[in-house]
């Protein structure tokens, strides 16, 4: 009897003539409008009273699971707690109302924060040349790979070095970014321990290789045991080591990319530094590089001289990533997060993230297959292979069934190299009890898959809507409202 919210968009609500808000009337002398051929009649939009809009979007919100509603162990997403004080800080009028083109003397406060954030990220990564302007992880990757490209260009090697090596366990953004940066991508199969296989790497290296892109820890949640040798070999071949630092939560405060010899990394503050993910952004993607690469950083960067801060364009910059200076609201939150925890708190973060993942692994290991049976870092990848083989239950079904336990499913079918993958990242923000609860739900579901696999096939049952026909939505895409008669 409760309304089927999905069937009625805002465009199907309200009534002609309703208003959501009043607009001040212009009561001065009216200027003539431009010629009619430059103008439109009106925009076709819903007409709702404010109450209707508030209820509609409130109802939508209640159809969402979120970190604030419960455990959200989506692997590779680091869905940790998002501090509310950081939201409050980002909304202070002094920050929120600052115009991006304001004279530097009017925006010293925000510039100082950004400058300090550059320096903190430089410290945290061990890579001191930092630019904050990329808008997300993938955008930071693009900036990083273009820095590599520019450096090769300046070395006169760009025409020759067009190949980028990427492990097959890499996040999809890595090969996609390498391609956007104009490189050809060669995928390297992972070794039996889930890490980079040195022999494979060596075989692939050559003087046409521009860079090796590696995620650390990798997307299996594993530490690259050969990382130092990997870096050596790549450098020896004259190529760059690009680090995907999106998994920094595993090692923050304990290990620095720069110390391991990486040339460039990007970070994901919307993962490691607790900025809210917003249902798919906004994020940010700071890029950190060795000092020698500083001239190529994307513009702008913040510099300080005699206690005054200014935005500058690096000498040989690859250009701008976006129109203005970056996701300032996200960066302010990241700064606040780092200042709240300090170095000690960041170490505790990685410590507890890794402890939670290993504890979960220990609790679940008898019930699910472990394709790589090694202690893990911040996340653990199980395989639903046993359940599929024995009970015709797929990882997809297990994921949907978790919803009925009031939990968000993990990432599934990724990394691609693990069959029926269940990639679980609990983060440090979950307590021991919530790890136990999560493991308990997984174990109960493993038992259900033996006893009553239909339960899983029909899941979820308690969600606002049932399983969706996703394939059909792509076969015959309807991606916007249209009036009923049309």
């Amino acid at each position: 009897m409760i309304e089927d919210v999905g069937a009625r968009l805002s465009f199907d609500r309200g009534a002609p003539g309703r208003r959501g808000v009043g607009v001040p009337r212009w009561d001065g002398e009216p200027a003539a409008l431009p010629d009619a051929h430059l103008l439109r009649e009106s925009v076709r939009l819903p007409e709702m009273s404010q109450n209707e809009i508030v209820r509609y979007y409130g109802a939508l919100s209640r159809r969402n699971y979120s970190v604030d509603s419960g455990t959200y162990p989506l692997g590779s997403c680091t869905m940790k707690y998002n501090p509310k004080v950081d939201d409050l800080i980002a909304s202070l009028p002094g920050f929120a109302e600052a115009h991006p083109l304001a004279p530097a003397e009017d925006v010293q406060g925000v510039l100082r924060v950004l400058f300090e954030l550059q320096s903190h990220l430089g410290e945290i990564t061990g890579l001191p040349a930092v630019a904050l302007s990329p808008a997300a992880g993938a955008h930071g990757e693009l900036a990083g790979m273009l820095i590599v490209k520019r450096a090769l260009e300046r070395r006169g090697e760009l025409a020759q070095r067009r190949r980028v090596l990427v492990p097959d366990s890499a996040h999809g953004t890595n090969p996609a970014t390498a391609a956007m940066a104009g490189f050809t991508v060669q995928e390297l199969p992972s070794g039996p321990d889930g890490g980079v296989d040195l022999a494979t790497l060596e075989a692939a290296l050559g003087d046409d290789v521009a860079a090796f892109m590696v995620t650390l820890p990798n997307t299996l949640g594993l530490w690259e045991r050969n990382i130092q040798r990997v870096v050596e070999r790549v450098h020896a071949a004259g190529a760059f080591v690009y680090g995907d630092g999106a998994n920094l939560n595993a090692i923050v405060g304990r290990m620095r990319f720069g110390d391991l010899g990486f040339d460039v990394v990007h970070l994901n503050p919307h993962k490691t530094f607790g900025t809210p993910h917003g249902g798919g952004g906004p994020g940010a993607g700071p890029v950190c590089a060795r000092a020698e690469l500083a001239p190529y950083l994307p513009a702008p960067v913040v510099v300080q001289e005699d206690g005054r801060y200014a935005l500058v364009r690096p000498a040989d910059t690859i250009g701008r990533m976006q129109q203005f200076h970056g996701s300032i609201g996200v960066l302010l939150r990241a700064y606040a997060y780092i200042r709240t925890l300090g170095c000690e708190g960041l170490r505790e973060t990685s410590g507890n993230a890794v402890l939670n993942a290993n504890y979960l692994r220990a609790l679940m290991r008898d019930h699910y297959d472990l394709p790589y049976d090694r202690p893990v870092m911040h996340e653990v990848v199980f395989a639903g292979t046993r359940q599929r083989r024995r009970h015709n239950v797929r990882t997809y079904d297990i994921a949907k069934r978790l919803i009925d336990y009031g939990l968000h499913p993990p990432t599934v079918y990724f990394p691609l190299i693990v069959e029926e993958a269940l990639m679980i990242e609990p983060t440090e923000a979950e307590s021991r009890e919530s790890i136990e609860m999560l493991a308990g739900a997984f174990i109960a579901i493993a038992e259900e898959s033996e006893r009553d696999p239909e339960l899983l096939h029909d899941a979820p049952q308690t969600s606002p809507i049932g399983r969706m026909d996703e394939a059909e939505a792509s076969r015959h895409p309807v991606i916007r409202w249209r009036p009923r008669e049309a």
Binding site: G58, V113, A336
Partner: protein, 450 residues
Amino acid sequence: MQAFPYIPNTDADRAIMLERLGVASVDRLFEELPAEHRDPQINIPAALAEADLVRLLQERAAENVVDRPTFLGAGAYRRFVPAITPHLVSRSEFATSYTPYQPEISQGTLQAAFEYQSVVCELTGMDVSNTGMYDAASATAEACLLAVRVTRRRAVALLEPIHPNTVDVVRMYAFGGDVRVDTVRHATDVTAEHACVVVQQPDFLGTILDVEDASGAAHAAGALCIVVADPLALGLLRAPGDAGADLVTGEGRDLAGPVAFGGPSLGLFAAREPFLRQMPGRIVGRAQESHPPAGASPGAAPRTGYVLALQAREQFIRRERATSNFSTGQSLIATAFTITVQTLGPQGMRESAELCYQRAHDAARRIATLPGFAVVERGAWFQEFLVRAPMPPAALAMALADRGIIAGLDVSDRGEPEAREATMFCVTEAMSPAHVDALVQALSEIGARS
């Protein structure tokens, strides 16, 4: 061990967990990491309690001067955003969820994104929209790359006057894609080498263009026409889609919230239907339940919902052959944008756009009457106008600064003749009329003294 509020485990918890793992300490879990680099000295300040953190950042915020009258625009406009917009998007169900990979428990995000796509299509007059990109400039760059893909041409043309930072961003993406970027003075300069022409509406110096001129020229050269449009102006101006645009981008940030030193932003990205499967970014589609929950509506028709659609274009499936590397976007900003536009509604969008137009024209008219000042004539314009003062723009800015006013943008370094010696002032619907009065007063004083 000091307890941090964001980390629940206590020493007692850790002891239980470590015992289960048979590991002596948390540090032991990191033993695979190279010992010589483990636990480096990291030079960042010590942890701050919340009260101290807030005080510190309140001090920093207070070091920004944001209460002075300011007439800067140039891509970041103070807009009216109704109070319900931040109220609704700050609901943690929207703010603290991930990209909606599990549609059954992400209908809020998904349906809001579908609303967004619908609104963008209506505003731009296009057939399809994605869920939004980083900002107008990067969306425009991605639009250029789309044009390159579909035309298989390796150059793009940008029609001046266009925002210089847009040029800069397009060049950056073009560096990646090994594409040539030409800036052109006339739409008719577009050639068969160009994949597209990019037109800014209103243009960088504020003028309202007839998009049909550009689309006609582009199509004549076999190129696509990309329009970077101001979404509030679209409350008043002809939809680019009705004037021949193939792709429309735009900046949604300012209808979503405050300018926020320029970000996070929101790049609108809409296209004609044939380009749907070439689009970058996420797209949400309508879907039906395949397994309605047993209790929910026995025997009833499957319910309607929303899912991520056309994912085969995307990096996590297609990897190096994806249409883009796009992953995390600007979902929350897109929802805010949608709520503002829908709250304004058809009447409010028109009224807000007209109010912006009228306030700006009123300011220009008053300034034009001041002795020594001239407003450059150049056809219809929306919210930005060029002023020549009895002194160079830099001196004008200083004189205004002395009176507590931030001038418009000095555009005298640009090539266009109309920009010569000019300062570009911006007045929007959200600016205080008292600020405009203060500007006129200050200019009249400055004029009298010079």
